[in-house]
Symmetry: C2
Subunit: 502 residues, 2 copies
């Protein structure tokens, strides 16, 4: 091997850096020295047909990596898929085409659909660094994207992945803009709409920063990690499904952007709209109901913000061929009693089973959304009574169980072994519940990684409570997590606002 | 140990992630599980009085890290400085105050000096993630900062570090906006100005993306990593110095921002001005000459851009109490013959020694800048002839040798053992030399890490050359690097533009 052979044996580092590819090289490695690579250099690695751009971390000490090998983080290993003993060739990457497009946006230019597609393609192929992506996200924040750019971004995001084809049938779908713990209407809505013999192939996400996503909640009851052929079989036989969308490559750039957007926590109306509508379009939906809960601790905090978001959703939906109905709903407090995968699944099942203790707010919200969808379906089979009839007759429950069976079998959710009540510190009326803080309690208790963990609400806004009465219960799978969530909950005076009688 | 004890034994990972703190934890670590930490979570680690916010990488495989320990990257280890066997306490960090200020800027608000100071403080304490910093850099790109904000940023950057106090004396300084290979006027200018008995305590940087910084070139001849007391002793005895500024904490946030700005390659006029002037103010300078080379492959590419930059430099300098003279110079091609630390040092010495083969362009540029500085010094000791007299009489050379002796001793630069000429492919006149590509050849040959590596120019713009005559020589310390630089050089048809006689 001469100094000019810029290849090294590849081995897995066994280090999870999420989706960010990292390569580890020894400080004495001849490739580092010859190429002038230093820590954080972006390095192109070719192996057979595959290649990836990875960030270099330099191993300065320890005996786990020799100078004649390069170790790959899990994400880099997955991208290259080297065979046993394979060598990687190392070089300086050419700047990705998207870098100059991002620069143009940062400098205030409007982007075309073709330019946005360049960004999506390079982002998906992991040719962009986190810094490039953060700069793009910053440039899009707030009103950084106009309606025309939002349409272009929606199309570019859809084009970067698969699009499901349902043969021209009027496929229905729903989406909630989020931020409301326990608002798990999707399984109920899908059951009602599918029971009415409409097509509703629903893909849902797992939690990113919340205590449960719809996919997490469904997974307590039935498998959700179906591939596209399996999903199709469920939908063709039952009319509906609730599967995890993450593995289906529907608008897959969304996952790349979310990794950057979440920690920065910049709201971009354009990116939100493009994210939602590109996924609906990619799932083959034609008619979509969008629920926008509005409240001081919800994602959308004012009626004005909801109106602006609605206007943009409608403009973009029209441009990409989606029929839209928008429902602005009350986002002032959590929905149902349970927060966390299993606890939410229990709420869903009590509504589907028409149990006497079924949470009325969850039932009402699901019925409203189902009615709006039936209304859009254009048949004679519409009206608010029709949705209620399908639920109360048991037709929706039967359809839900059939969907679960088709997805791989139904499992009854179980309660957590460790529970502790949090009680009212004084007499009075509950006037507010902080959606964000109650979600944090559920997460500290272990949700969603521990499916039975979470929060069970005992009081709601408007309820009168006496000192010492339970406001909510913390559920956990281990005593340590129970105590940890309790420590946080008792240190939050504004979790439940209780006003004393005047 | 219970589940609630969120501490782990700390050990060094022996991994260099540049200045980005990373913590490695095992996938089965109880702290990860209890806190819900996942790959890329930002984690606060407390150890004694020290703390740091680090990015989590999860070790999924291998036996180098046990589940009851956490390994720290070099930067995280340096920040915490744990004693043998020390434990770190792990928690979710509070969002840094600067995050909401950066959000305000991203959404288009003007920032006050106090807000900019919050960003500088959090950046310096490494409380901001790379994503936060990238968003800030993107928001400042182009004209993202107005003059008022640039003044605030300059003051905030200066306030974040040390400021040298020279007892009210009229301290002189110079700066070049850069981008021109071989433009190593600083050692000559300092020697002339110090020989005229003025005070010029010069701090210089190492190369970041170029083949040599002034500190790299000086280090071939004399030690440059002096601390402030040692620098003071040199300046008090010799009137001047040329030391590496990186260790002196003068405007230290600049190093944090540069790590983000360089890969993104966004030009921000405001950040450039604040970076330059905060360092000058922190070094205690009162009167500063700024050289702005303008050329199609220089950093500043047009007279209009140079005029805008000059106007902002002057406005900010006036606000922070610096007297400024701006020199717009020719940036169409490299300066001198050598590119790379030792080759540039040889050019500097030939000028100081008034050697017959001293590069005239380097000499002329240094004399002009020295004259402008003498002119600003306000004494009677001015005029272009005075600078030339100090150089031609040998006074500047003697002063330079005395400065080197005071900094720790002088060493004569040596030539590289491996050299290869690159020749003209045809007869004609050289009409352009690409600054960026010729710099890249020098870097591929090993500069600045290998001090003797680089490029020695044989032809300049305007020269007539014949096919087969040398345009430049590549110098390298190893045969492999020589060949690697040659491969690149011969594949670049526009490195030297040669127009055939018409």
């Amino acid at each position: 091997m001469t100094d000019r052979d810029h290849s090294l044996r590849l081995r897995p580092a066994g280090i999870d850096t999420y989706s960010h590819p990292v390569v580890y090289m020894h400080v004495d490695c001849h490739v580092c020295q010859a190429e002038g690579f230093r820590a954080l250099t972006r390095v192109r690695i070719d192996c057979g047909e595959n290649w990836v751009i990875a960030t270099l971390n330099v191993v300065t000490n320890g005996n786990w990596l020799s100078p004649d090998a390069a170790a790959l983080s899990d994400a880099a290993w997955d991208a290259l898929q080297p065979e046993e003993g394979a060598r990687g060739r190392f070089s300086h990457p050419d700047p990705p085409a998207a870098a100059s497009v991002i620069r143009a946006k940062v400098y205030g230019e409007r982007l075309t659909e073709a330019q946005l597609r360049t960004i999506m393609d390079d982002a998906l192929a992991r040719r962009l660094s986190d810094l490039d992506l953060a700069a793009f996200v910053a440039a899009c924040a707030g009103d950084g994207l106009d309606v025309g750019e939002t349409i272009g971004l929606t199309r570019a995001m859809q084009a970067a992945g698969e699009t499901l084809d349902w043969g021209g049938r009027p496929v229905l779908d729903k989406h909630c803009v989020g931020g409301l713990p326990g608002n798990r209407t999707t399984p109920i809505v899908v059951a009602i709409v599918a029971a009415a013999r409409h097509l509703i192939p629903k893909t849902s996400s797992r939690a990113i920063t919340s205590p449960a996503g719809t996919a997490d909640t469904m997974e307590v009851m039935t498998p959700v990690a179906l591939d596209i052929p399996a999903m199709r079989r469920v939908v063709e036989s039952e009319g509906g499904c609730v599967v995890w969308g993450g593995g289906l490559r529907l608008s897959p750039v969304d996952d790349v952007l979310i990794r950057i957007e979440r920690p920065l926590d910049f709201d971009s109306e354009g990116q939100l709209v493009a994210s939602v509508l590109s996924k609906k379009a990619a799932a083959g939906a034609k008619r979509v109901v969008i629920d926008i809960p509005v409240g001081p601790t919800a994602k959308v905090r004012s009626q004005a913000a909801a109106a602006a978001l609605s206007a943009r959703l409608e403009a973009v939906a029209a441009a990409v061929g989606l029929e839209l109905t928008i429902q602005i709903s009350d986002g002032s407090q959590p929905v149902g009693q349970g927060i966390g995968p299993a606890l939410e699944a229990m709420d869903v099942l009590r509504v589907l089973r028409c149990a006497p203790d079924a949470p009325a707010d969850l039932r009402d919200r699901a019925l409203t959304l189902a009615w709006l969808l039936l209304d859009m379906s254009g048949g004679s089979d519409t009206g608010p009574n029709r949705a209620r009839e399908l639920l109360d007759s048991g037709a929706a429950e039967r359809r839900f169980m059939a969907i679960c069976e088709a997805q791989g079998g139904f499992t009854e959710p179980q309660s957590a072994p460790h529970r502790m009540p949090v009680t009212a510190p004084r007499d009075g009326m509950i006037t507010a519940i902080d959606n964000r803080r109650i979600a944090r309690v559920a997460k500290l208790a272990g949700a969603p990684q521990r499916p039975r963990a979470g929060v069970l609400l005992r009081g709601r806004s408007g309820d009168q409570v006496h000192r010492g009465e339970p406001l909510f219960e913390i559920h956990a799978e281990t005593p340590g997590e129970l105590a940890y969530a309790q420590d946080y909950a008792t240190a939050q005076p504004t979790l439940f606002r209780i006003e004393e009688p005047t």
